[in-house]
């Protein structure tokens, strides 16, 4: 099969760029821990009231000084209805759904999590700036989908 000289140069360049690019993404993901939201824990969506941490939705300070926020999504809102976390601390969101698939996405941050019934999604984030952040559901969940939102307040310590 004949390859034109310029095409060889073009493809070699493309291939090299690809390898460098994927290496950067891979190192960032697995060496520095920058993976997108995820998690392998399962729950019974009909029985969240007695499944920790969703039996007590809200903000919990952990022993190591970091924070965990348990959130239950259902059409068309979130429990708890208010969240307040400190700036500059590690905050781990744990989210699941009581009914259909939703999302828990905090505008102006990289927290953008799918909320799938039966599954627990996790993401750790540090808020640098205090203020009120908008949380929206960005996965279609029904006729009230565009009303499904709330605010999270980040306060100075």
């Amino acid at each position: 099969m004949h390859l034109h000289k310029y095409e060889k140069i073009w493809l070699t360049f493309g291939f090299a760029a690809l390898i460098i690019f994927l290496s950067v993404v891979g190192v960032s993901a697995f060496h520095q821990g920058h993976t997108p939201a995820g998690g392998l824990q399962k729950v019974d969506p009909d029985n969240l009231e007695s499944t920790p941490p969703f039996d007590k939705p809200g903000v919990h300070e952990k022993e190591d000084g970091s924070y965990e926020v348990a959130v239950v999504a259902e059409a068309f809102g979130y429990t708890p209805g208010e969240i307040q976390v400190p700036a500059g601390e590690k905050v781990t969101f744990k989210v699941t759904s009581k009914d259909v698939t939703h999302s828990f996405s905090i505008v102006d941050t990289n927290v953008n999590m799918m909320v799938v019934p039966g599954q627990v999604n996790e993401k750790t984030h540090v808020f640098r700036d205090p203020g009120k952040y908008l949380i929206v559901c960005n996965e279609y969940c029904g006729s009230g989908h565009h009303f499904m939102s709330m605010e999270i307040e980040v306060v100075d310590q």
Binding site: M1, V25, S143, G144
Partner: protein
């Protein structure tokens, strides 16, 4: 091979497919027009009509129905043009397939219109539509399979009669696209037949949501290549002929199609990067496989511009870029496709961003994604289809694509481009600011959300202006289609529109490229590597099944 036309049975088949495609197109674009106005609060729907119903119709009609029917009409005419007339069995089974596909389409559409299936075209569980919506989807896919097998049968007959010869490039690429489609559909067929239908009719309780999502995206990503590859056929095989050139390299063209089969399927997890239930390792592995399609994409870009430059120099273009001005810009059959290619440059770059693992979190399910697929399927694919329509319909109806209609066609593609630049730029930027996709009027009371109505580019109003121009352009296209189908003057033999097929030198092309068993085998191995363990894990460690919900 130089036939002025193709036999009547194929003409009727192809025209029926194209007719349904363009009917879906105009209704679908009208839905789109309503959406952009609802999103900036300029339009209130009557109580019996819901935003999400319109959104579902827009997605299904344009992304599934318009594309699929158009593609089969294009394939049927091209296969007859390059491999010779269809036998009676091929014609019969193509009709059977077409009728099944149409029946499925009608069923699903009735369910959507009657509000029984406002689940969007991704129909994510555990939202539960009327069971007949899923039956409609299944019939749609089965119908396309029947048409696919009929075309594959025609190809096999040709190969038997022409032992040892390489098939014409058009037929080769059609078969590659069909193989991709059939392997891809296995995922959606599995989830619809074994998960959704028994669950929606109440024969089985509970659904494994994560499994259904994964099976959907196993199908959902190659689906976009099923749209793209027929456009690539236009780029590789038809455009060179229109500008008077030849295919740059037969073997590389075939190799790129093989690479698309291999690397467009085992990659669905890159649509699921921000969700639980899939370990990071598997998400990353599929990310790597996703990026392999960059190789055939670069090959295609190289081939196209090589053809353009070679031809431009033949026409007397001098200097580094002199050839560029020599290209036949007044020929809308060429200009439309050239603009389509230009749109694919930012479209492809955006795709790389979307699939980039952690970077996906920035844009996942924001308006950015909507902007992205409007400058991939919505322009490179759709506008290539427009460019093909301009000669394919008069070729089939034996009418003339008159000078006046050609001028209108140029206006049509220019307005489509302007509308799309406005709309998709606004969508991309709004997405970066966090505006969600798939929402009706987003009246969130927060300064970040209020800003989505304030910028110049990043504004829902800009999006609506673009959308309105697009709808005008779509109406113009329908006018041209109707003229070409029924009203343009009949052609004399000298003015008869031809089906352009460029010469492609296959003498040096390795025979292994047409050994489908090998490539299907490699594709299945890659799929097994990418999917077996994570899918087995989803089944073994499944949470209790979800009940169905009707939240609309």
């Amino acid at each position: 091979m130089t036939a002025v036309s193709i036999p009547n049975p194929e003409r009727k088949l192809a025209l029926t497919n194209l007719g349904i495609a363009y009917t879906a197109f105009i209704i679908g674009t009208l839905c789109g027009l309503m959406q952009v106005f609802i999103r900036n609060d300029a339009l209130q729907l009557p109580a019996w009509l819901d935003y999400y119903q319109i959104l579902t119709a827009h997605g299904v009609l344009l992304a599934l129905i318009f594309t699929t029917f158009f593609i089969f009409g294009f394939f049927q005419s091209g296969m007859s043009r390059t491999l010779g007339a269809f036998g009676p069995k091929v014609v019969f089974w193509n009709w059977v397939g077409l009728i099944i596909t149409t029946t499925g389409t009608v069923m699903a559409t009735v369910m959507i219109v009657s509000g029984e299936a406002s689940v969007l075209y991704t129909f994510y569980a555990p939202m539960m539509a009327n069971g007949f919506f899923y039956v409609g989807l299944a019939l749609f896919v089965v119908g396309t399979w029947v048409q696919s097998f009929a075309l594959a049968g025609h190809y096999l007959v040709w190969r038997k009669a022409n032992k040892g010869e390489k098939s014409p490039l058009f037929a080769y690429m059609t078969v590659a696209t069909i193989i991709l489609w059939i392997i891809a559909c296995l995922g959606v067929v599995a989830t619809v037949l074994f998960q959704f239908i028994p669950w929606a009719f109440g024969w089985k309780e509970g659904i494994n949501v994560e499994l259904s999502r994964s099976l959907f995206w196993y199908f959902g990503h190659p689906l976009v290549y099923f749209w793209l590859l027929p456009a690539y056929i236009g780029w590789y095989v038809i455009v060179p002929k229109i500008i008077g050139g030849k295919v740059f390299s037969d073997s590389l063209a075939r190799l790129s199609f093989i690479l698309f089969i291999l690397f467009s399927i085992p990659v669905g997890f890159h649509h699921q990067l921000t969700e639980p239930g899939i370990a990071s390792f598997w998400k990353f592995l599929q990310t790597v496989l996703t990026f392999m399609v960059i190789v055939p994409s670069l090959m295609t870009a190289f081939s196209m511009f090589a053809v353009f430059e070679t031809r431009g120099r033949e026409l007397g273009g001098k200097g580094l870029f002199g050839w560029f001005r020599k290209l036949p810009w007044k020929d809308v059959r060429f200009t439309s496709i050239f603009i389509a290619m230009l749109f694919f440059i930012p479209g492809g770059a955006g795709g790389i961003i979307n699939a980039s693992f952690q970077m996906n979190e920035v844009i996942h399910n924001t308006l950015w994604v909507v902007g992205h697929f409007h400058i991939t399927v919505g322009t490179p694919v759709a506008m290539t289809f427009f460019g093909i329509t301009f000669w394919l319909i008069p070729f089939l109806t034996k009418r003339v694509f008159t000078k006046a209609l050609q001028r209108l066609a140029l206006i049509q593609i220019i307005t489509w481009s302007i509308g799309m630049v406005l709309m998709s730029t606004a969508q991309h930027v709004l997405g970066l600011f966090g505006a969600p996709r798939r929402t009706a009027y987003t009246g969130y009371q927060h300064e970040d959300a209020l800003a989505w109505f304030e910028g110049i580019i990043s504004n829902h109003v800009t999006m609506a202006v673009g959308g309105s121009i697009l709808f005008l352009s779509a109406s113009l296209l329908i006018f041209i289609v109707v003229q070409l189908a029924w009203f343009a003057p009949m052609a004399e033999s000298a003015t008869q529109e031809t089906f352009p097929i460029a010469e492609s030198d296959a003498r040096e092309t390795p025979g292994i490229l047409e050994n489908w068993t090998v490539w299907i085998g490699v594709a299945l191995v890659l799929i097994a590597v990418a999917y077996t363990i994570p899918v087995a894990d989803m089944i073994q460690h499944a949470p209790p099944g979800s009940d169905g919900f009707r939240t609309w």
